[in-house]
Amino acid sequence: MREDDERPITRRDFLGTAAAGTAAFYLAACGSGSSSSSSSGKSAGTVTLNNLFQQQAGYSASDIAGMTAEFEKANSNIKVNNTLVAYEALHDKIVAAAPAGTYDVVLGDCIWPAEFGSKNIVKDLTSLVQGLPVNEIFPGAIQMALYKGKYYGMPWILDTKYMYANTAMLKKAGKTTADLKTLTGMVSTLEALKSKGVLKYPFMGSWKQAEAVVCDYATLVGAFGGKFLDSAGKPVFNTGGGVQALEFMKMLLDKGLANPSSTSSAEEEVLKAFAAEQVAVNWNWTFQLAGATEPSKSKVPAGDVAIMHTPQGTPGVTPPGVNGGQPLMITTGSSHPNEAWEYIKFITSKQAQNNYVKDSLPIWAPSYDEPAVIKTAGAQLVSVAKTQLPDMILRPQVPNYNAASQELQVQIQKALLGKTSAKSALDTAAKAFSAGAPV
């Protein structure tokens, strides 16, 4: 054995090796970074996009994976990593990840452009969006990304709450879908379903303390001809149609027409209850149609699932539905904004959207006349969408929407639980939309 082999490791050896290792690691890290990233946008070599989506209403995980695979096939230099989270976690994850620039493309909501745009969390995409044929996009859809005349995203998920009914149950109560055209007709139908013993609670709302309850409330505000804000941006939902909407929700609970579990249920729970034949009538996003007609998930025969326009508050006046649109946004921390836009452009394109219409319909108006779209989505859904989507009520576009909406959710629930009157609850909530930060 040589003498060197027996020599113990000295401090100098240790430090030397550690320094060499650190240097090698640092160089390796720099090397890999330089081949895959560039701060100037368009990069040479392979670029990796990290995107954030939701796994809930709208496009399913497999739809997103399918669109992404097609994009990667068409753009071999761009690799895409998608992360999917629950809707409830989406906003906070976008905010928390913003300083680190973790994500390139994020799925937003139509209530966030004001907040994200004013706080510079997402990029202004006005010039890019205007380069597309925006006149072919539904007016309600294009609004979802707009704040103070600027586009902070590209519309992607176009959704609204439709009315769903189990026609076999309606038949047992001697009713048809024609009876559900107005809110008065809806109440008498629910009463018939209850009195004839078809269901103890024939209706179920998504009235959990979450954004879901605001969406159901907004549907009714639209039906009663109410508004959230006036032209000066002052809250007016605590008057007229806004108050009537909340009183209507409370009445459904008081009469035992709405399931008491509505106040702890979101859209997923309502869909499950409908699929288990525990609900005859409800409002929900497009995804309920696919879920309720899927034999492996639903006890309701597909032919018994009806989808309709939400009921009229004033007979003869077509009510606007709630705008449930969700745009795709590019974060200000993105290192690859050009590739991110390419990805957004691809998956929001008419062609990509027309291929995935089972859970979410395209933003493009001409797509609704495409035979392939009508065949896959179903003539029933497409014909209802054509009337419901062009006119939608947008929830308030204010930078402090999240804080104000939380107050609205709590106040709506207090009114539903009989702890305060509808008017008083909405007066309190209206103050939150006018107030700023707590300091």
Partner: protein, 317 residues
């Protein structure tokens, strides 16, 4: 060499050896310090820096996740929180949650610990089964109880109606107070096993001879429990109370999963309230002040418990 010269040489050699040793020790100390640098960086990075940064943020009106020049507001975030009824409602709910859940966990924990300490056959199996709820992630536990208490397809409704305990399905999570108690139930189910195992360890330290002597003196099992077991178990009880109270006061994840703070804020704990203000509303300065107020509450609780320990002369403090 003369004696004198030898002495001089020795006298000269001593400081030289001392200085060599001193140098070696200094080098070793420096080397040791160098080795500690990575852990100091990690500790500073993940503990000290965030703690100080949060304190700093709490004095500014920070309303965005990005660094920037935000206006200083002094203690205004603290006074705004302390004068906010929403904050105090959350504190009240949290105090109720903490008191009831900790009390129930202690009560059931003592019972289970006594059962697990009894000389049973296959005791190891029972002990393994009892620890399972604690091993379950809180998120899974929350989802499990939420599904069990679901108004439309939950197993609780099915079981209770079959047993004729209730006439029809109930919406358990739809009333604010009912939902809070169900969250407590889920928390108790999960954490009782931890309490039981702490107390089981405490039971193992009680000498068997005391029970034998008591039995000879004609003491009933209940008297033995009250006069021997409970007093000697007090140190373990106090330790477990400190741990569980602090944990219960910080409750967040089980509420996030089971109720989202609803209905009508009925299950909104102070940690959940803080999270919503900081991350959902982006009032980071205000949220930081709230976080420090929670720390203060917990410090007060911990101080009270430690005082109780000291007064009982358990050698702490």
């Amino acid at each position: 060499m003369t004696d004198a010269s030898a002495n001089v040489a020795t006298a000269g050699a001593l400081p030289a050896r001392r200085s060599t040793r001193w140098l070696a020790r200094t080098r070793e100390a420096r080397f040791a310090a160098l080795l500690l640098v990575p852990s100091v960086i990690v500790v500073f990075g993940i503990v000290i820096y965030p703690v100080l940064r949060t304190l700093y943020t709490s004095f500014y009106a920070v309303n965005s996740p990005f660094p920037g020049n935000y206006p200083g507001v002094g203690f205004h975030n603290y006074t705004a929180a302390l004068s906010n009824p929403g904050f105090w409602s959350a504190v009240e709910r949290t105090a109720y949650f903490t008191f009831v859940s900790t009390a129930l966990e202690l009560l059931f924990g003592i019972g289970i610990a006594l059962l697990l300490y009894a000389p049973l056959r296959m005791r190891w199996l029972f002990r393994t089964i009892v620890v399972l709820p604690w091993a379950l992630p809180t998120i899974v536990n929350g989802a499990l109880w939420r599904y069990m208490f679901d108004a439309n397809y939950g197993v609780i409704n099915a079981a209770f109606t079959q047993l004729h305990l209730i006439g029809s399905y109930k919406a358990w999570l739809s009333s604010p107070f009912g939902a809070l108690n169900i969250v407590i139930l889920a928390d108790v189910w999960k954490n009782t096993s931890l309490v039981a195992f702490f107390l089981l360890a405490g039971l193992a330290t009680i000498p068997r001879e005391l029970y034998e002597a008591a039995r000879i003196d004609g003491v009933t099992p209940f008297q033995a429990f009250m006069r021997i077991t409970l007093p000697l178990l007090r140190p373990a009880i106090v330790v477990v109370l400190v741990l569980r109270t602090i944990e219960a006061f910080k409750v967040f994840d089980i509420i996030y999963v089971m109720t989202g703070g609803g209905p009508a804020n009925g299950t909104q704990s102070v940690s959940f309230y803080t999270y919503q203000r900081a991350f959902s509303d982006e009032y980071f300065g205000y949220g930081s002040a709230l976080a420090y107020l929670i720390v203060l509450f917990i410090l007060v609780l911990a101080a009270l418990y430690i005082r109780a320990l000291r007064s009982d002369n358990y050698g702490i403090g």
